[in-house]
């Protein structure tokens, strides 16, 4: 049974990857890092439910095998299909965001890092629905960088997903999606939380392709 589930997870994963590539001509732009196996936290902008599968799909197989997206437990455990796809296909680190739970998200994240996994996180916390390129970052990224300073924190910009799959739409539009990986950052010695988070936010926003306003 376990083998069948693992095989099914592999097949579903490949299907998601092929579908994403076919629809969006998905492409990685390795601006600041090389696609080599190193322990990293990819922190990305978040506008659509398609964001995480896009980063997961664009990573080369060797990197994809060791990466674990950090995702909300309430979303991924809602029904049996999600409960299969989230934990078993994407190998998510599921965190419970409710304040009353004992199982603190940061403990699970640090445990995943200590196992040697790379992570995908969305430091804005929620999907960005506004006109600003990024929402203010939550503290999680800073705490990870402080607790495990050797891990590379890689800014990762996902372009166009807000047009391809906006919140509430069912049919994805086939537009070209490029995932840009920037140069890694680390928490500097003595750097305050706010200073680091704004530096991280700037590093991510600088990867955004210049969007030309039609006028």
């Amino acid at each position: 049974m376990k083998i069948i589930r693992r095989l099914a997870a592999k097949i579903v994963g490949q299907a998601i990857r092929l579908f994403a590539s076919f629809i969006t001509a998905l492409r990685a732009d390795w601006q600041g890092i090389e696609p080599v196996p190193r322990q990293r936290v990819y922190f990305a902008n978040h506008t659509s439910n398609g964001d995480m599968p896009m980063i997961w799909s664009v990573l080369p197989p060797a990197l994809r095998r060791t990466v674990r997206p950090v995702a909300a437990a309430d979303y991924w455990l809602k029904n049996p299909i999600r409960a299969f796809v989230g934990p078993e296909v994407f190998n998510c680190v599921l965190v419970d965001r409710r304040p009353e739970v004992k199982d603190k998200p940061m403990d699970k994240i640090i445990a995943a890092l200590d196992e040697g996994s790379s992570l995908i996180i969305f430091p804005e916390g929620n999907r960005n629905m506004g006109d600003e390129p990024l929402l203010p970052f939550k503290a999680g990224l800073y705490n990870m960088g402080l607790a495990r300073p050797d891990v590379d924190l890689v800014p990762t910009w996902i372009a166009n997903l807000n047009s391809i799959m906006p919140k509430g739409e069912v049919i994805p539009l086939p537009l070209i999606c490029t995932v840009t990986f920037g140069a890694p950052i680390h928490v500097r010695e003595g750097e305050s939380k706010d200073a680091f988070l704004s530096r991280a936010s700037e590093a991510l926003a600088s990867l955004r392709p210049v969007e030309r306003e039609a006028n």
Binding site: A25, N160, P166, I171, L173, P174, I176, A214
Partner: protein, 314 residues
């Protein structure tokens, strides 16, 4: 093996022979250069030759397989081109349905009509029905912000990448006396004349080009273009035997389509400059996107189709 098939094979092998010669020519030049000092012109030339290999093989297979293969090949080319185009156009959330309809209804229906040979329908489907219906769908979502720009750019994308491109397979539907099944060779004629004209225009433009046609927009020169068109006419004359045009007709058709195609390339250079991009995408390595490859064919195909229909249809 019938006549048409053997003619397609002959043209394919001829094209591959030329590509082989070009590949060897480029390799020899590359071998002679100091590897620490690569020439950008030579690099561009070599990547272009490589993508022509791919195009030649794909088009040859499609032509050999007949109507279905040709329609499917250009359907996918249109899909890739429309995706590149709409990635760069103005759109908001309110356009989600109309853009989804453009991709998943308008595009396949247009090629279905071409496949069925309903020329009365595929000639008006996008310029009339899509033109009127998609703006309705966008307007119903109630967002007026930059509305005219959004619907106009979407319509432009459909006209260029679906309507115009579909005129290549539509050549199969023109009834020409005594030509019959050989109409698939019209596609070969169009593609060879336009592509070789472009290649020679590029070559001569680099060599003797002086006067820019559209300075600040495209490197094309009047001298290069004149040479390219004259060469295209010569090639058209040599290929007259695969067409129903006769030798002078073939020369004239080659000249007109090649000229229109080159101006089409300038139009697409203007769009790219407006949007601040160098290439339409990165799908064809070292070459840019599908629209970069198709731009001259996009302009040449409808003109070629209608001139053929007007002068040679039964």
């Amino acid at each position: 093996m019938d006549n048409t098939t053997s003619d397609i094979l002959m043209l394919s092998f001829g094209a591959m022979g030329i590509l082989l010669a070009l590949t060897m020519f480029g390799e020899v030049l590359q071998a002679q250069r100091n590897p620490s000092n690569p020439s950008p012109v030579l690099e561009t030339f070599m990547t272009r030759v490589k993508s022509w290999w791919g195009m030649t093989i794909l088009i040859s297979l499609a032509l050999l397989s007949g109507r279905f293969g040709v329609v499917v090949l250009f359907l996918f080319a249109s899909f890739a081109a429309l995706r590149e185009f709409l990635t760069l156009t103005a759109k908001v959330r309110a356009d989600h349905y109309s853009l989804a309809l453009a991709f998943f209804a308008v595009l396949p229906l247009q090629y279905f009509f071409v496949w069925c040979g309903w020329d009365g329908l595929y000639s008006v489907f996008i310029p009339v029905y899509a033109f009127l219906l998609l703006p309705i769908v966008s307007a119903l979502r109630g967002n007026a912000n930059r509305y005219l720009i959004r619907v106009a750019e979407t319509q432009w994308a459909l006209m260029m990448t679906v309507f115009c491109v579909s005129h290549v397979p539509a050549l199969l539907n023109i009834d020409i006396a005594g030509y019959g099944e050989r109409s698939v060779l019209l596609i070969a004629f169009l593609v060879i004349v336009v592509q070789l004209g472009d290649l020679l225009e590029y070559f001569f433009g680099r060599r003797i080009g002086k006067t820019r046609i559209a300075p600040g927009l495209s490197p094309k020169t009047w001298e290069g273009m004149a040479c390219g068109v004259v060469c295209a006419m010569g090639i058209g004359g040599l290929l007259a035997w695969i067409t129903p045009f006769g030798i002078f007709g073939a020369i004239a058709m080659a000249g007109v389509t090649s000229l229109v195609g080159m101006f089409g390339n300038i139009v697409f250079a203007a769009i790219k400059r407006d949007r601040g991009v160098k290439d339409w995408s990165h799908l064809i390595p070292g070459q840019g996107g599908f629209v970069d490859q198709l731009d001259s064919v996009i302009f040449a195909a409808p003109i070629f189709y209608h001139l053929t229909r007007f002068f040679w249809r039964v």
